[in-house]
Symmetry: C2
Subunit: 344 residues, 2 copies
């Protein structure tokens, strides 16, 4: 086998405030051979996720930050180029944390799982409908929000990759679902294509007033991806014993000073509510069950996703900025290469 | 029976900012006779509680506010003067929401339970060791905080009537307990008399630095009575999967604008923590079990309380102000009258 050249994006500097393309630096390396229990994979698509902003900072968080000079962390779907691990064969499609690069040598035993793409799914499904964002929606509803049929579920960042799946899964559970998103196109997608019961355009509408209209019985489960003023508006409408699934606070991720906490957090006491943070990576052991539950919904078309695919590994740093400015529509990912002929 | 004169404190105006004695007005009335299912009771002691500030406001809350001109709501221990209710006899000691007055005619069927004082307890125990504050501690630990043996429990407002019981109950569960209180006397009481493992004087010490010293494994359960900066300090030390029992936010109760929310509330997500509000009045059905669990601890001296007793119903409005300025030590109550000879 000839030596393969590997283009990588490494972290060059830690962002202050908004992430910038200059925080990354390109590097070329030769690719090593997989040792025992390892695979050499060629990345097809790279997923871009809000959590990446946190991995770039050295503030204490749930996993260690990416070090300066280290390949940027990222979830990918890839094709196995050569395998020294039992149960994995050349040409199979796999997904896992393979990083911002063309090729990766990975341990199948971890850290972080290497999963095979289920039959009948496309490579992008691995990062979108079955990706971390969908798994986040799945575990956050099953284990934290626990909505009952007939309850009202409100989702912020509803047109995003996680939020749109949260809403669809809640609809499948028999809930009334209201989404909050930025712009009429996103809102129309939620109600017309995904079957949400209502959508609020926070760019153009008074979120508090609209929540009052659309949630006459209050909000039983508020799924928060955003934080800030939208969180405050939702806390004001929280039903008795309401649950806030605290999934993210993207409105504040790029601020150098933390955003103020919700001024009306006393409502958590008054409504005897529960606010709970959770992280999909805590549920790695339960991934197989989750994928088994989600895959048929994708195959049958009951769970629909939308992807915003940027071309070429070189586009990754610019695309990450768009993730935070909202200049994307659906699950944001980068196309790196195509599957080899046999599987294309 | 001759007509009894009843002195009452009624709500005269709603406070703006700090509660003031001028928010109350004295009224004299004649006392009626109990109808079927009712008792006429003579109040012995009136409990003063932080929740009263909320009952004086017309902001939406968990129960309707006291109306202007209505007798101020309050928990009391009382002696039955005459009974038209099965199972209650003249001379028995009972406790319930009998209000800021000498006498009350109450329905034993509610709203709000009328309980009998267990054998071997003193009247003040009904409002202190077995009062709403102790029940709050009991249900908040059992149902919300759920500390495990060996976990670290931190309590704010620790020398208060609720906080001091929280700490003692957590010690009985085998937890390491740290209290936060204002002043060296309160702190000494916690460690020397009640057996807390540590105490932090927030008037004199850097709470964040001391929490770091005293909670090397982080805070597993933070019981918050106070809110504000102490809540922020605790959120910074929260252990993974920590629980915040959101019991009160007394630091902000008398502000006319709400206090800022915790600036570091993102820690709830990062630590995958749970913040849960609760209200003792939701547990009325389980009160008998709770009283059965607490009474032996009081009788055996394993659960100790301290009372700050003000003399005479006339002192109630001034005493309520002291509740919020911290110018009291232990459970604050007002002595109204004594039991009749037979039970004294």
């Amino acid at each position: 086998m000839t030596e393969l050249r590997n283009t990588q994006w490494v972290l060059a500097s830690r962002p202050e405030g908004m992430v910038a393309p200059s925080n990354f630096e390109r590097r070329e390396q030769e690719v090593g051979q997989p040792g025992e229990g390892q695979l050499l994979v060629r990345n097809l698509y790279l997923s871009l996720d809000p959590a990446m902003r946190g991995w770039m900072s050295d503030a204490p968080s749930y996993i260690p930050p990416v070090q300066i000079g280290e390949v940027m962390r990222g979830g990918c779907v890839a094709e196995v180029v050569s395998s020294s691990a039992a149960g994995f064969a050349e040409g199979e499609l796999v997904f896992g944390m393979f990083g911002w690069q063309d090729y990766a040598v990975v341990d199948v035993a971890g850290p972080g799982p290497v999963s095979k793409l289920p039959e009948g799914l496309a490579p992008i499904d691995a990062l979108s409908a079955l990706g971390w964002t969908s798994l986040t929606a799945y575990f956050g509803l099953e284990d934290v929000g626990k909505p009952e049929p007939g309850e009202t579920v409100v989702v912020s960042g509803a047109a995003g990759a996680t939020g749109s799946v949260v809403g669809q899964l809640a609809k499948l559970k028999g809930c009334r679902v209201i989404g909050i998103a930025g712009g009429p196109d996103k809102c129309a997608w939620l109600t017309d294509d995904l079957g949400f019961d209502g959508a609020i355009d926070y760019h153009a509408e008074d979120v508090s007033r609209r929540l009052k209209e659309l949630c006459p019985d209050g909000i039983h489960v508020f799924w928060d991806n955003v934080g800030g003023e939208i969180l405050e508006a939702a806390l004001n409408r929280l039903a008795l014993h309401g649950r806030v699934v605290f999934c993210g606070a993207i409105s504040g991720y790029n601020d150098s000073t933390p955003p103020p906490g919700p001024r009306n957090y006393i409502n958590v006491l008054v409504r005897r509510a529960r606010v709970e943070g959770f992280l999909v990576f805590d549920y790695v052991d339960q991934m197989p069950q989750a994928l088994a539950a989600l895959a048929p919904l994708v195959q049958s078309g009951q769970l629909r996703t939308r992807e915003d695919i940027r071309e070429g590994l070189t586009s990754a740093p610019e695309a990450l900025v768009d993730l935070f400015t909202g200049a994307h529509l659906g699950k944001l990912m980068v196309h790196i290469s195509d599957p080899s002929g046999a599987l294309a």
